[in-house]
């Protein structure tokens, strides 16, 4: 049996097509608000139930509860604030009870029913969520640049924007049907922002040994210069799955989501999202959702002990490497050999090699995967 949705019921807040036409016809009479990439992704995730049980953006009571207790006010685990910020000018034009048309890239993407407009403490927000107020932390930098007010209220998502990845996206409703159709009772989810190397493959295969299916979720969205392009990650995974995984044991589907880099808190959030897709297990590796040196190597694993009621089982992995003593892939928990016999997988080294058009060492990446990546004229974001 796949996981029950978080909070018991899968949320669906997508505006029906017939209502959409009415809204668009009357949109001149509505307040309008442009939202950024993060809020747009959150809106879509609320709409399709990826963030169940949330039906909208947090009000002040829920925000305080999430910041101080890592739970919603009804005690359900929830670690990342899902909020919509506005500036002073927008605050003057929006009132409680208003319906606001949300726009992204000039297109209508949602309706927000305003229930509360409130001020918040950015420093407290950063301290609690990111465990730092260092402006060099990308999550802190975003919070400090947000508007001074937040709007709480329920939303309805309008699926208008196309990004070319529609055929790779499944909603939680769809994955739940798919897992049932495949007869999967246990499903392990793996989140990725990168092309697959041997370390990823061994983590996934080790987990798959104990469950019925593997659910791979590449995160699609804003990337920084030098990252692998989204289509490259998808094609590399397709090669790996088609050539090296048992047929029918893997589902790959993207998640549109803006990373917060909140380390331990975000690991819990990622697990909740996968629970809503129906996964029963979630892989948490070294420095999950971390950035720089803000979090301990395995802090994102340790935090799970505070959530015995999460409803999805975390699977903790140590770093995999190639060991010449073992003659294969291993990790520090099971390998008895000295460090000098180990070849650690370095993302930087793989990237450098591929950027020179050279296939990385076989102890780090499969040749077939590397060749797929190299088949792109430029696999990196410019």
């Amino acid at each position: 049996m796949v996981s029950r949705p978080h909070g018991g019921r899968l949320v669906r807040r997508v505006l029906p097509r017939d209502r959409l036409e009415d809204i668009l016809r009357d949109s001149r009479g509505l307040h309008q608000l442009d939202v950024d990439d993060t809020i747009y992704r959150d809106l879509e995730n609320i709409g399709y139930g990826v963030y169940s049980p949330l039906t909208g953006f947090l009000d002040s009571v829920e925000l305080e509860s999430v910041l101080l207790t890592m739970r919603l006010s009804n005690d359900l685990p929830w670690t990342i604030p899902i909020v919509l910020d506005i500036d002073e000018e927008a605050r003057r034009s929006i009132g409680i009870g208003d319906t606001v048309l949300l726009r992204y890239g000039g297109q209508p993407v949602g309706l927000l029913m305003v229930e509360e407009v409130y001020r918040y403490d950015k420093r407290l927000y950063a301290e609690k969520v990111f465990k730092t107020t260092d402006p060099a932390h990308p999550g802190v930098a975003r919070v400090m640049s947000m508007g001074d007010y937040l709007v709480g209220g329920s939303v309805e998502y309008i699926p208008m924007v196309r990004d070319g990845y529609e055929d790779y996206f499944l909603t939680p409703m769809e994955t739940r049907v798919l897992f049932r159709e495949r007869g999967w009772e246990t499903v392990v989810a793996f989140q990725t922002r990168n092309v697959p190397h041997l370390g990823h493959e061994y983590v996934q295969k080790t987990a798959l040994t104990f469950v019925d299916g593997l659910f791979i979720n590449p995160v699609i969205g804003r990337k920084k210069r030098g990252d692998f392009r989204d289509e490259v990650i998808l094609e590399a995974y397709k090669t790996l799955i088609n050539r090296f995984y048992p047929r029918g044991s893997v589902v790959m589907s993207i998640v549109r989501y803006a990373m917060r880099y909140a380390g331990p808190r975000e690991a819990i959030h990622h697990a909740v999202m996968r629970k809503n897709f129906g996964a029963t297990h979630f892989i948490v590796g070294r420095d999950h959702a971390g950035v720089g040196n803000y979090y301990g190597r395995y802090e994102a694993q340790e935090i799970f002990s505070e959530f015995p009621d999460l409803g999805i089982t975390p699977l903790f992995f140590r770093e995999f490497f190639y060991c010449r003593g073992c003659g294969g892939m291993s990790n520090e928990k099971i390998c008895p050999h000295d460090r000098d016999l180990r070849i650690y997988i370095s993302g930087t080294r793989i990237r450098e090699s591929l950027s020179r058009g050279v296939v990385p060492p076989g102890e780090m990446m499969r040749r077939e995967v590397a060749e797929t990546i190299l088949s792109f004229e430029n696999p990196f974001v410019e």
Binding site: L10, R71, D75, D167, L170, E174, L178, E181, P308
Partner: protein
């Protein structure tokens, strides 16, 4: 009666304790049993009514999954 032991968040326990006092439940134990009865009935009703998806919705989803190659 069967004796079971479960772990619950501290915050939830404190709320149960306060609530038991306010509504005149004899103890947290008594309140928890009442809430479980209520919750189990609601879940059973939800399952019986198949509230999640209609057959038509499931067929539409199966169709999309097939067209994308997720199902044979």
């Amino acid at each position: 009666m069967r004796k079971v032991s479960i772990e619950i968040p501290e915050t939830l326990y404190r709320r149960l304790e306060a609530l038991a006092g306010r509504i005149g439940a004899g103890s947290v134990y008594e309140l928890v049993v009442d809430l479980l009865r209520e919750g189990v009935s609601r879940l059973e009703e939800d399952l019986d009514s198949g509230h999640e998806l209609s057959e038509e919705e499931v067929s539409r989803i199966r169709e999309r999954l097939r067209s994308l190659g997720y199902l044979d």
